[in-house]
């Protein structure tokens, strides 16, 4: 017995049904089953739903081979970057590469690079309940950068500001998870205290993002533009 559904119609039906009905059903089940812990459960479900829907959209669209490869290359680069810059503590180029990809190749590619980088770098750093949140956080950072394509491409100041924003946003999204898991309901005081304890991390994320974006932004962009012109991605 091999796990493949042969019927094409049934497969298409399942692909439609799974994200749109199954996951909201899981959310409802969580509300029903988990009483006081429901916020944590729902937040996990919503994050997974958002990521799955995005990937489903990507699966459906016809994407050129070259674009597919460039996404794989950028994801691999962002993971390798963690090793190349390992001698300098706290410096990770993942966010910068996600933003650059989004700016030059569009928000959808940015989302994919962000989400995939999270899964793959966690092969080396450990998967956990935080994986969907990292996927969502980096994915959204990429997607929003794609929406702000033009100002980010033109002005270095805007790019720097976005780097600070992305560092803060990443830290804030991850703290939502910490607080929800630790204390059932969402308490502002606890959230604020979590943010304050995470402040050094947030600052180091923001600084490394700005440094990487300013240093890598132009040359990286030129390389991507060159590839786009030379090969027509």
């Amino acid at each position: 017995m091999i796990f493949v559904i042969k019927n094409e119609k049934l497969r298409r039906f399942l692909k439609f049904v799974l994200p749109w009905i199954a996951i909201p059903a899981v959310v409802a089940l969580g509300v029903f089953a988990f009483g006081e812990k429901r916020y944590a459960f729902i937040s996990v479900c919503v994050v997974i739903l958002a990521t799955v829907l995005f990937c489903a959209g990507f699966e459906k669209r016809t994407v050129g081979t070259r674009r597919l490869i460039v996404i794989a290359v950028m994801t691999a680069l962002s993971v390798v970057g963690r090793f190349v810059f390992a001698p300098i503590p706290g410096f990770k180029p993942i966010t910068a590469i996600v933003v650059i990809t989004a700016v030059y190749l569009g928000g959808e590619s940015g989302f994919m690079v962000g989400a995939l980088s999270a899964v793959i770098s966690n092969f080396y750093f450990g998967q956990g309940p935080w994986t969907p949140f990292q996927m969502f956080a980096w994915g959204m950072i990429g997607y929003i950068a794609g929406l702000l394509q033009n100002p980010l491409k033109k002005s270095r100041v805007a790019l720097g500001i976005y780097g600070v924003f992305a560092g803060a946003a990443f830290s804030c999204i991850m703290d939502v998870w910490t607080v929800l898991w630790y204390d059932n309901a969402f308490h502002w005081e606890l959230y604020l205290s979590a943010i304050v304890t995470a402040l050094p991390f947030m600052v180091s994320y923001a600084i490394s993002n700005v440094v990487f974006l300013l240093l890598l932004g132009r040359p990286f962009g030129e390389k991507l533009e060159r590839i786009k012109i030379k090969y027509g991605v």
Partner: protein
């Protein structure tokens, strides 16, 4: 019979996720204890003595959570003593203990999950949902060692050219950026060549299929069904209020309704199942070896 890790990834995924999703979000001390025992048994069964060493810091984490909670959480009616004008209550001590169980149990489940779900298994899981995503993932996984090797080569040649040393941070950053920039150019060109080669060989013409080395056998179906059924039963029990626990304002006694007991038994079975499979396989292996 086979070891837990050798079951089809789909069954393994649903089994661990079922146990962990209950152990992560419910606050019933009995269920949390069962989850912790199952997680610990599986981890030790898979890692033996080396695993024991790694487990050493978990009691510390447990203690920090258990002690930390009563210091910050002042809900509850039974005041033990007052510290700096803040009451330390018995209920929050219990709550801290339960939190500790939950934290350590969940971390251990995910530890075993990462160990079992190697990249080929995860690819198989992704591939069942989305072939295109699985293709990108597998290409990326291949690129990482390739790029690392290339980066190392570039680094050595650039250093040999005397372009930078590695004894201060700005220089290291400069060097890192140089290597990275070279790597990016090389990687993008290399990628486009790969893409052209794929197109030339007919990628994108037909439907994408996926190679998988994992069979879905009857035993896998049994494990999958058991996991789903036990998880569903536990969820139902929690939803109907047959199991569950209130810490605040006062601790409620554990309910012992027949259905509740059934839920505890089924969750315990689900939680211990991986460890039992793993240990029985190890024992069988030993007995076969000693028979030679």
């Amino acid at each position: 019979m086979k070891a837990f890790a050798d079951y089809n990834p789909i069954s393994v995924f649903f089994c661990i996720m079922g146990v962990a999703s209950v152990g992560m979000f419910c606050m019933d001390p009995l269920l949390l204890g069962l989850s912790l025992i199952g997680a610990l048994a599986l981890f030790l069964a898979r890692n033996g003595r080396a695993g024991m060493k790694e487990c050493l810091w978990y009691p510390l984490l447990f203690l920090i959570t258990a002690i930390g909670n009563p210091l910050f959480n002042h809900k509850g009616v039974t005041v033990l003593f007052v510290l700096n004008d803040n009451p330390v209550t018995l209920e929050s001590v219990y709550y801290g203990l339960a939190m500790g169980c939950m934290l350590v149990g969940t971390l251990l489940w995910f530890r075993s999950f990462s160990q079992i779900m190697t990249s080929d298994r995860l690819l198989y899981l992704f591939g069942a949902a989305s072939p295109k995503l699985a293709l990108i993932l597998s290409m990326t996984m291949r690129y990482i060692p390739l790029f690392r090797a290339q980066a190392e080569k570039t680094n050595r040649s650039q250093k040999a050219l005397g372009l930078y040393k590695e004894d201060n941070i700005p220089d290291r950053l400069k060097g890192g950026l140089r290597v990275f920039s070279v790597l990016v150019t090389w990687a993008l060109e290399n990628g486009v060549t790969t893409a052209d080669s794929m197109t030339a060989r007919g990628y994108g013409i037909g439907k994408r299929s996926q190679f998988a080395i994992f069979r879905f056998r009857r035993s896998d179906a049994v494990l999958l069904l058991l996991s789903l059924a036990f998880t569903a039963l536990t969820f139902t029990g929690m939803g109907l209020g047959k199991v569950g626990f209130e810490f605040f304002p006062a601790v409620t006694p554990v309910k012992a309704t027949p259905f509740g007991v059934l839920v505890y038994i089924s969750y315990g079975a689900l939680s211990l199942l991986p460890a039992i499979l793993e240990i029985s396989e190890a024992l069988r292996w030993k007995s076969l070896q000693s028979a030679i």
